[in-house]
Symmetry: D2
Subunit: 142 residues, 4 copies
């Protein structure tokens, strides 16, 4: 694989009041939502968003999620959430970086892993379905 990622996206968000806890920082669990917004932007960018996934006969549940909290975010802070596809052959692995929009200071890092599941049979796929690889511009051997 060359240095250029196959798919990536970046979104900007503002920490809303209702995401901030008693410690006056964005509650850690909300980053799952911020990650998802960036992940959806990434998948939309290759024409394989949730609606398209389902039309293709697959769902891609999250099977693994990791978050490392480096610095807290405050109410009203502008954050940038970038998502980058780093594995795609057997499963979809996406890396995330949340940083301060203005300064670029890293706030949270993480990744998610998803696997394709055949929507009809409910069976997990041992390799990524051809439809996903095609959206990435990769010819599959199927």
């Amino acid at each position: 694989m060359s240095g250029k990622p196959l798919a990536q996206a970046e979104v900007e968000l503002t920490i809303p009041f209702h995401d901030v806890d008693m410690l006056e920082i964005a509650w850690h669990g909300h980053y799952c939502r911020y990650f998802e917004i960036a992940r959806c932007a990434l998948l939309d960018s290759i024409g394989y968003g949730y609606v398209s996934m389902r039309a293709s006969g697959f769902v891609w549940p999250i099977i693994d999620l990791q978050l490392r909290f480096v610095r807290p975010a405050r109410f009203g802070q502008r954050i940038r959430v970038s998502a980058q596809l780093v594995e795609y052959e057997y499963r979809m692995r996406i890396k995330y970086l949340v940083s301060d929009s203005e300064t670029g200071t890293p706030l949270v890092k993480g990744h998610s892993i998803q696997v394709a599941v055949d929507a009809q049979s409910g069976q997990m796929c041992y390799a990524s379905p051809a439809v996903f690889l095609q959206r990435l511009g990769i010819q599959s051997d199927d």
Copy 2:
């Protein structure tokens, strides 16, 4: 209608850390969730929970929701949420009271209004479907 409500339910909840905001009180919007937990208990008590609704061919979207906040709730506070069915003929109107579990002090009052929608046609029903009235022990004229 006699004084006895046709259907009612009561649930007890503890305010979790992630529901508490910078003012150190349960964020007002979370009461929509607390109301829903009591509403589901009420509908379950008459055998007309969400799964049963859908099996009967209807969904019941919320069309109106009102909340009046009397006193704030704190992290770890035990609250009681009671729900009472107060209208059923043309729509489902449920009244809620959130109170402190120990003292009974009222915290939040409110109501929700739902109407039946035919799941197939997407048409709103002008009167409650017979299946709902039967669960309430009421004979319908249909």
Copy 3:
């Protein structure tokens, strides 16, 4: 009062996956969050956001919230949330309209009522504090 509102704001949002329920519509309770984002934009526009409020010695808890659901919103739908200040002398009453960004079709209407509370004493104020009226460009009699 003339036809021009004293303060108003408008924000655009996209319905994220995690806000959509089993009925494939944005869950009704999430509109409390959408309202809040517009309300914060409105208060920021007059220099009286949450941080400024607290610095002025007051908090403004929500005491009443009403939502009327006209049409559902779907995953990925762009929505516009407008907020307009309609009462300010004794309490802050804000009206909301959520509509489809493209077509302008109304989706949800509502209002919130907040009262000023002295942060030190915890006492509710019977009239809006001078600091708030000044932000609105109104001379108070205090």
Copy 4:
């Protein structure tokens, strides 16, 4: 360390309607909330809940969170969330297991890592403060 954990707790929850997504499963991010409810029960069981933490002059932000999703949970499903303290000397590491209440089938596994931060100075502590070790019944060398 013997086989007996220093601290553990178990809570039972019911998956509410508003936690379920379009795939008709509990949205993955909500498990951060379920973990937290069990974590708070664990900390309460040793008399070192959030209020007690803060009174002791420390906050314990989450710096790492990992979740592995084994099987989905459905609307109305009863789940058991167990939390177990597995590291305490330099940081607090808690392991979680979410399982079906009835069958015991594992649904989600994970862990969280927290470090003590001096509330006044904002400095991270290189070892757990004595107050925490005392709650665990451990004599500290401080």
